[in-house]
Amino acid sequence: MIHAEPMPAAVRLRGEMADIDVTGLVKRYGDVVAVDGLSFSVQKGEVFGMLGPNGAGKTTTLEIIEGLRVPDAGTVQVLGTDVIAHPSTVKERIGVQLQATALPEFTKVREAVELFAALYRRSRPVNEVIEEFNLEEKADTYTDKLSGGQMQRLSIALALINDPDLVFLDEPTTGLDPQARLNIWTVIEGIRKRGKTVVLTTHYMEEAERLCDRVAVIERGRIVALDTPRRLIVEHAPGTTIEFALVSGLDVETLEKLPGVDRVVADGRVSVTTRTPEAVLHALLDPQAPWAAAAPGAGGDGEGEGTIRDLLVRHGTLEDVFLSLTGRSLRE
């Protein structure tokens, strides 16, 4: 097919262009503003994460970039092409995995791969893809008979059938057991090793921390922070976090007055952030402290009401970053 698209090809030759360039993206559903002026770029070969709670606008943003939705405002360049003007040009070169597994029914694994391979002008050999995703043994199994992890592997395999430069994974591990989740993480790391650009959404902070080069923290349709996971943590959740269940005689105000305490967040459990964990722990566990004395079980088995329970000491995570930026937990 011959058709001229004047600028993009020439610009791409310089090799400086980002794989995705989004500016001023807005999408409304009735009165609800799902995406509220997002702007960001994703560089070639990067694994870019969109972290946020359900309803933050992650999926809507992704589906606009994939050419599935038209925004109310803003521009989107994908692989040097304006996706709003030329969605099919873009679709030929990207791989898409949607939130719902969405596999064809009454179809065997091999047939599903063949079916999707036929939709692209250029696609990888079916057997090669089946092997790569460890689906050989399931090749003649109906898609609805697969386990959750196998369905997800097939779904990602279908997203890679056209050997895309850019892959979108919408919540690739939601609903999977821990073993299957690890398996998918290995798969995604494999995609990255082949130099592909990956954009994924998740509400699992450990997933974003492990897989992503950069993370956009999204809330209510806006990016509230965008950086590498490490820098986000250093900037927004520095120090050590001490977590425990709140006990009687010990309230947030008292905790905030303890020496060395930087920040206290009570969200079911209490999270105390500090750069001097030893001193704070010492104060908290002091047997002479009023809350320790007030506790009926004090000095006993340590399980009584009034003692500090379910103590956990850890470094900051993206979950803390989110909490610190929005005052909300990721999975409310």
């Binding site: 599935l68 939130q99 597994t101 029914e105 009454f106 179809t107 939709l119 002008r121």
Partner: protein, 266 residues
């Protein structure tokens, strides 16, 4: 790959899935064949009055007195076309809309037209098969004659099939979810089938006048003409086909305006 090749591949995949889906195959084929066996056996050798009213002494006025199965075989064949094209297609599309497959396909370069051709093409193939099966069963068991005008019969089946497919697509946006789909297609088709006289001549002018609004009635008329049940020199009845065509155009307009590729956001 050319658009035609993509379309044919889609048709093949749809057909494969159709025959593996026992519920769909049963829905499309089971009902018309089952009723043919039940009513065909009960009323075999009896006669019925087509296109006329039944007088006080039971005589057929203004129509033709024909063996019951000469009428019932083309009527059940027509119902088979409606179940494969309207009912099955609608249920299948709503299912795939709700499980996200339609949206997933939108994320590929597959043109919408190629996807829709696959669905329509497959439904039409199933429709031709159900008509042939009904005719063979009717002929072997009840000595119903073969279609008197094969070409008009084929054209009627294909045109009606296409029209009922399009009407099926047109109602999908108004079906809230996959669970509701079977109820909606049955509720919209079965009462009209009855008042259109697919099973008996109800001899009720009010029913018939209501039925005449809908394409189901005209499809039956057209099938009776093409099968030679109603006297006709050519087997063609332009008026029947025209009414169906108008419904098809309306269906197409509604589809283009309202069709949704994904379920409503919750």
């Amino acid at each position: 790959m050319s658009d035609l090749a993509i379309g044919l591949r889609q048709v093949r995949a749809e057909q494969r899935a159709f025959w593996r889906n026992r519920a769909a195959a049963l829905f499309g084929f089971g009902f018309p064949i089952m009723f043919l066996l039940i009513f065909g056996t009960i009323f075999n050798k009896q006669s019925t009055c087509v296109d006329g009213t039944i007088g006080a002494s039971g005589q057929c006025v203004g129509g033709a007195e024909v063996p019951y199965n000469n009428f019932f075989v083309p009527a059940m064949a027509a119902w088979g076309v409606i179940t494969t094209c309207f009912s099955n297609l609608t249920i299948g599309v709503v299912n795939r809309r709700d499980n996200g497959l339609l949206k997933r396909l939108r994320g590929t370069p597959l043109p919408s037209a190629a996807f829709v051709s696959g669905v329509l093409g497959s439904a039409l193939i199933s429709a031709v098969i159900v008509v042939a099966l009904t005719a063979v069963v009717g002929h072997l068991l009840y000595q119903a004659p073969w279609p008197a005008h094969p070409l008009p019969a084929l054209v009627t089946v294909l045109l009606a099939g296409l029209v009922f497919c399009v009407i099926g697509l047109a109602i999908t946006p108004f079906i809230p979810n996959a669970d509701a789909a079977p109820a909606v297609v049955n509720f919209t088709s079965l009462p009209i089938l009855f008042i259109s006289g697919f099973f008996f001549n109800f001899n009720n002018a009010v029913f018939e006048d209501i039925a005449k609004v809908f394409p189901i009635y005209w499809f039956k008329e057209s099938m009776l003409t093409a099968f030679g049940t109603e006297p006709s020199s050519s087997g063609w009845n332009g008026q029947d086909l025209l009414v169906m065509l108008v419904w098809g155009v309306v269906g197409l307009a509604v589809t283009l305006r309202f069709f949704r590729w994904e379920s409503r956001r919750v």
